[in-house]
Amino acid sequence: MVFNRTLGLLARQLQLAKSHSSQFSPIQRALSTSGARFNRLLVVADHNNETITPITFNAIAAAHKVGGTIDVLIITNSPDKLVPQIEGAEHVNKILVANHKLFDQLLAERLAPVIVNLHNKQAFTHITAGANSFGSNVLPRVAAKLNVQPMTGIIGINSPDTFVRPIYGGQAIQTYKSKDAVKIFTSRATAFQRVNVESGKKAPVEEVEVPNAEVEKAAALTQLVGQELSKSERPDLTSASVVVSGGRGLKSKENFDLVYKLAEKLNAAVGASRAAVDAGYVPNDMQVGQTGKMVAPDLYVAVGISGAIQHLSGMKDSKTIVAINKDPEAPIFQVADLGLEADLFKAVPELTEKISK
């Protein structure tokens, strides 16, 4: 079945090659047909074989900023579930599906060969994904195999080869130019507004070849043996429009309830500082900061968080920052739009109670 589809694909490619002058590589063809600015972008979709992760739609928006045709690659064992979630997305030229039962486990070792193989055939100018734990795990492995220096957590795109990203935990902003033939980058979700997923169009779907031998070899070396995902009724932290975060000032896991209650009132996601995670008040995937999640909601409420550099780098692009802290010297007040110098154990319940009125 897969073999037949692959043959079909090959036949189409041959036709394409004939219709253009066949002595040119795909890039040269692209250049000759659409001028020097033509880019062919590949966005690698993040998903869990059930749902496309929303950051994929931010990554498509970043790709659109580069300009050119955008193909989305879904490496999966269940394309039927995933394709309908993304085929209507704005700016998508084509959906490429790599389907294999071994993609029940979405491990970098299995996914990287597919991307490398596809690039070697189709010569993309850009390969990109969202800068989350998926993108950060997979794309550098791909880049190494292609002898390319990738770029992490891009927040701005000045031209197809000039990119902007924060360094030193957001204490400086670097603009640089990539001289690689294929630019490989991950983009920060908070810097690119998601594309519309119901554009009214449906992108065509094409099956792509899976380098079976390599994927099988990788599968023998690495297996996923367990998953412990935290359940939450609150909105997703990285995409919520309101985030309430708690820090060491909460003093205990039980007291963190104050944060949850306020979050509930505001329909907010709940975040935390490293101190709160290390103290065991909340699980690690709630950490906001340089080494945790990057958020940029409309409203960020920091409760009992002093505001270390490493925490600020994860939230200082929020539109409005509110700090509730009893220490007037806390650095969080230097970035807060609205600061309330008060005991959180009094102020937070009062805020929670009054906010609905």
Binding site: L107, R141, K177, V242, N284, D285, K293, L340
Partner: protein, 251 residues
């Protein structure tokens, strides 16, 4: 089994950095430098594995300018058995570091590589993944727990991923990168600092290792991040709610 740990010298995590006025980079002259916090965690993990009898030797490696020797001495004082310094004057990008490390892996034949998940200066989060890609080894990134099984030659690694924790089983040799919650690194004691002075640090250059340094990223400028406008301190919860509703209009 030998474990190789890569350590990077970076501006200390507590330093408020300054961008150079000519926008060419960040001021590193007369600024406190330290071992990258994630690298300390990587080294600590390697030492614990050796102390549990599952490894025979821990080799610390650093790639960069002459002062990286100080970082390696810190690593030796923590307990690494010996050091390797690959000297290169300028900063290197992760691809070049990964290539240097691959060459050292070929020379040293370690059974496990441990790196930090990211350096806190360039924030790349790439080197471990790239090295694993070059070596075609399995990768256990963002590790919060590592368990080795010497008989079966596998490592079980808990990974900190977006939704929680994921456990992977890796055939050795493998590359592991450390997250913050893997362990609490030890401090070097004075006697160990003295002892570290007599430990060996072997020197190489990238040329010795036959590694060509690629510089495919050209830094055009480094600037200060946009400043936030000064905020106001409110005196009561009522005033806070009023401002959120009527000025910021976020609730």
């Amino acid at each position: 089994m030998k474990i190789m740990v890569a350590v990077k010298r970076v501006v200390d995590y507590a330093v408020k950095i300054r961008v150079k006025p000519d926008k060419t980079g960040v001021e590193t002259q007369n600024v406190k430098m330290s071992m990258n916090p994630f690298c300390e965690i990587a080294l600590e993990e390697a030492l614990r594995i050796r102390e549990s009898g599952l490894a025979s030797e821990v080799v610390a490696v650093s790639v960069g300018p002459a002062q990286c020797v100080d970082t390696l001495r810190t690593g030796l004082a923590m307990g690494a058995d010996r050091g390797i310094h690959v000297e290169f004057k300028d900063g290197l990008n992760p691809l070049s570091v990964a290539k240097v490390l691959r060459a050292l892996v070929e020379a040293e034949k370690p059974g496990l590589l441990i790196l930090g998940k990211q350096a806190i200066d360039d924030d790349c989060n790439q080197t471990g993944q790239m090295l694993a890609g070059l070596l075609k080894w399995p990768q256990g990134t963002f590790a919060s727990k590592v368990t080795l099984d010497k008989e079966k030659r596998v490592a079980t690694v808990d990974r900190e991923v977006d939704g929680g924790i994921e456990t992977v089983l890796l055939d050795l040799p493998a590359v592991i990168t450390t997250d913050l919650r893997l362990n609490q690194p030890r401090y070097a004691t004075l006697p160990n600092i003295m002892k570290a002075k007599s430990k060996v640090i072997k020197k190489y250059t990238p040329e010795d290792l036959n590694v060509e340094i690629k510089s495919d990223l050209e830094v055009l400028q480094v600037t200060e991040p946009p400043k936030r406008k000064a905020g106001v301190v409110v005196s009561s919860v009522n005033e806070l709610i009023d401002k959120l509703k009527n000025e910021a209009r976020v609730i």
